[in-house]
């Protein structure tokens, strides 16, 4: 028996590893291809595409918490807003280098994630959801109150971002912003793929399914989840900073319940716990919203609602799950189901 185990390990393990690697590599290539295709297909809508990327970062960050840890949140925009305001305030005060601003946003988001996680992880289930709502409402209120720093409801304007690498301007046509955003998204996505397939990522998935089992394995649950909150905050903060840099304004909407709820809708729409679902959901939801509201600005809401209902009826596991079933047949993507 020992012998069998040895031989099988020798042959099978590298194969499995390679398959996982190659699948992720294909995924990343597809994302880059889609991004580049967007650049050439819609050269006139780059500002919209950049906004989708910023929101995609927010939805990715939410997937880390909801999809990988099973912590439902309707307040994720707190972290996005923290990044956006930190980058915005830094920019107004003379920090104009884009990469520095992104770093500031990520750190602020991570710090907000630490606080938010420390509060939210005290509760479970519905109570947790309500805590997340309360936190985002408080953050929104705080941003409104601190109008000396945030511009309050008028928004924080006057962000003059310097050129990227001292060369590429963030201009009207938005090529710089878009390509910068796309590179950020791809980089973050690759990092997150590493994170979720690391031992830590596995531990989180385990916690999502059964925290008691994880404790019985001798692992503390709270610090693991808190760590994921910090990572999630950094990702959301990056998205917020990207939004601030590319639009040069930060509004109260970036730290609102509405944005949080939209992010959750997009995530569930795309499918939880795969990272791909987060991207698919964001692109489909925002693209659909944009197209429908351009066709009929007066009654697009009905159609978006109908889309959500249709998705629940046709693909309860989200769109990425549906794609999985269609394309790969039986073979399912790794990761938890909702």
């Amino acid at each position: 028996m020992q012998f069998v185990a040895q031989t099988e390990r020798m042959t099978a393990a590298p194969v499995a590893g390679r398959r996982r690697w190659s699948r992720d590599a294909v995924g990343v290539i597809l994302i880059v291809a889609a991004g580049v295709a967007g650049y050439f297909l819609f050269p006139d809508s780059l500002a919209l595409l950049t906004r989708i990327i910023a929101v995609a970062l927010l939805v990715l960050s939410l997937d880390l918490i909801v999809g990988y840890c099973g912590v439902a949140s309707l307040g994720q925009a707190t972290l996005f807003g923290a990044g956006a305001y930190a980058a915005g305030i830094a920019c107004v005060n003379g920090v104009t280098e884009p990469l520095t601003l992104i770093a500031i946003g990520a750190v602020a988001g991570a710090a907000a994630g630490l606080v938010m996680g420390a509060i939210m992880l005290r509760a479970h289930g519905l109570a947790q959801l309500v805590l997340s709502i309360a936190i985002v409402q408080l953050a929104h209120e705080a941003a409104n109150k601190a109008s000396a720093y945030t511009g309050g409801s008028d928004g924080l304007a006057g962000l003059f971002v310097g050129p990227l690498f001292g060369v590429f301007e963030f201009d009207l046509w938005g090529q710089t912003a878009y390509l910068f955003g796309l590179s950020l998204l791809v980089a973050v996505f690759i990092i997150l793929k590493f994170v979720v397939s690391s031992p830590f990522g596995m531990l989180c998935r385990g916690i999502k399914e059964d925290p008691i089992r994880i404790r019985a394995m001798g692992a503390f649950v709270f610090p693991v989840l808190l760590k994921m909150f910090v990572i999630s905050g950094a990702v959301a903060g990056t998205g917020g900073a990207l939004a601030a840099i590319s639009t040069q304004v930060v509004g109260l909407d970036s730290v609102s319940f509405e944005l949080s709820a939209n992010a959750l809708v997009m995530l569930v729409l795309g499918g939880l716990g795969t990272l791909y679902g987060a991207l698919i959901g964001t692109v489909i939801f925002m693209g659909f919203e944009h197209v429908v509201s351009a066709i009929n600005p007066f009654h697009w809401m009905t159609m978006v609602g109908a889309l959500l209902i249709a998705v629940v009826l046709a693909a309860p596991g989200g769109l990425s799950d549906l794609l999985d079933q269609i394309s790969a047949g039986k073979k399912r993507n790794s990761g938890g189901r909702p």
């Binding site: 006139d44 780059l46 309050g152 009207l172 939004a243 040069q248 304004v249 509201s293 009654h299």
Partner: protein
């Protein structure tokens, strides 16, 4: 649907005009407004104003056909505002931008204007500071400080020596509080207390209790137009403040015409100051109300954003004329500096310095008309008011 109708109209117009000018160019105008969402009514008013202007003044300027493209921005969302403006300029190749209901959205668009070589005519967004962010912006609405300031003297003359201010806790609310306080104190009164209440307040009784306890003889209030105003006015009546002779003053956002059917009796006698009343008696306004009422479908829904849009289109037409259909933002904006004309709201001028509209502010009172409907009845005119918010900066 509406957009296609407009397109169709433009196409037919183009056919008819084909003989006049063989080299007619189509000038595109992008209008951003809240056409869906909680503020959809204001967006509808934008559209009604634009359509009314085009119905009365033709769909072309000196052989240049005008095509209007509407883009929906339901709530204050600067990122989306920028994306929409960028797309309108780059993809749809609009030469003029108009509309914009919320201040942060305007703030997100103005940095683009220079590069886009496109002027922006703001139909509503009412914070003074927007005008400083780009030399290519003009505004045909009002600022909160502009509509509020005359109330200070009015309140004092009405015998109010001590007043309390109650405003929604956001930019325009704070602007209103400051403007009233300044004007009222300049007139010799004293503001004994200032209350800022959260935007989502639904039950105003405790606030009214607070007003009562303050001992003030007058109440100045500012809330954004829409659902909360109803609760606020009702609470004012029901808690006995009305009977208790605490006088109520507010800018006209609180009694906009489209809210009056809902407010009804509760609003009767409320005095507000504003730049426009649908009931304004002038031939220009009669024409406007008829055309805009037709455009919006239900004339009861007509309100102040429509006149902002109407006059905004007037500016855009003038700009197109000056630039001769070419894209030249500086020439266009220079052409309207100092421009005076008679708007449905009364005589107006674009201040050459600030590019903000100088206009009459009217003191009105909600009264019941002979048809049984409530309207804002003009009782006093403060002519040629500039924006005091900008003057002080």
């Amino acid at each position: 649907m509406k957009a296609t109708k407009t397109l169709l109209g433009v196409a037919i117009g183009a056919l008819l005009m084909g003989s006049v000018s063989a080299m007619a160019e189509t000038v595109k105008v992008g209008i951003i407004g809240p056409f869906s969402g909680p503020f959809a009514l204001q967006g509808k008013n934008f559209q009604a104003g634009v359509e009314a202007y085009m119905a009365l003044n033709g769909k072309s300027v000196e052989g240049n056909d005008i095509e209007v493209i509407y883009r929906d921005l339901p709530t204050a969302n600067p990122a989306q505002a920028r994306a929409l403006a960028q797309e309108l300029v780059v993809k749809d190749k609009v030469q003029y931008l108009g509309g914009v209901y919320f201040t942060p959205d305007a703030m997100a668009i103005t940095p683009l204007l220079k590069q886009a070589n496109t002027p922006l005519v703001i139909f509503n967004a009412a914070t003074s500071a927007i005008m400083n962010t780009s030399p290519l912006v003009a505004r045909t609405s009002f600022t909160t400080a502009q509509t509020t300031t005359p109330l200070g003297q009015v309140a004092f003359d009405d015998g109010v020596k001590m007043a309390i201010t109650v405003v929604s806790d956001y930019g325009p609310g704070i602007d209103a509080e400051n403007a009233f306080k300044k004007a009222f104190e300049a007139a010799g009164g004293e503001v004994v207390e200032t209350i800022r209440m959260p935007m989502n307040t639904t039950d105003f009784s405790p606030i009214m209790q607070r007003v009562k306890d303050s001992g003030a003889g007058g109440l100045f209030a500012f809330l954004p137009s829409g659902p909360p105003t109803l609760g606020f006015v009702k609470a004012y009546n029901e808690t006995g403040l009305k009977q208790g002779n605490i006088k109520f003053f507010a800018p006209g956002d609180l009694t906009q015409e489209s809210d009056l059917p809902a407010l009804g009796e509760a609003a009767e006698g409320l005095r507000t100051s504003f730049h426009y009343s649908v009931s304004h008696d002038s031939p220009e306004n009669t024409k406007f109300v008829e055309a805009a009422g037709k455009a919006i479908g239900n004339p009861e829904q007509l309100s102040f954003p429509a006149v902002g849009a109407y006059d905004g289109m007037h500016l855009i037409y003038k700009m197109i004329e000056a630039a001769d259909g070419k894209q030249d933002a500086q020439k266009a904006i220079d052409a309207v500096k100092g421009l005076s004309w008679t708007s449905p709201r009364g005589p107006v001028t674009i201040d050459p310095e600030t590019r903000h509209i100088t206009q009459n502010i009217y003191l009105r009172e909600v009264a019941k008309g002979p048809d049984g409907k409530y309207y804002n009845k003009k009782i006093k005119t403060f002519p040629n008011q500039k924006d005091p918010g900008l003057a002080t900066q």
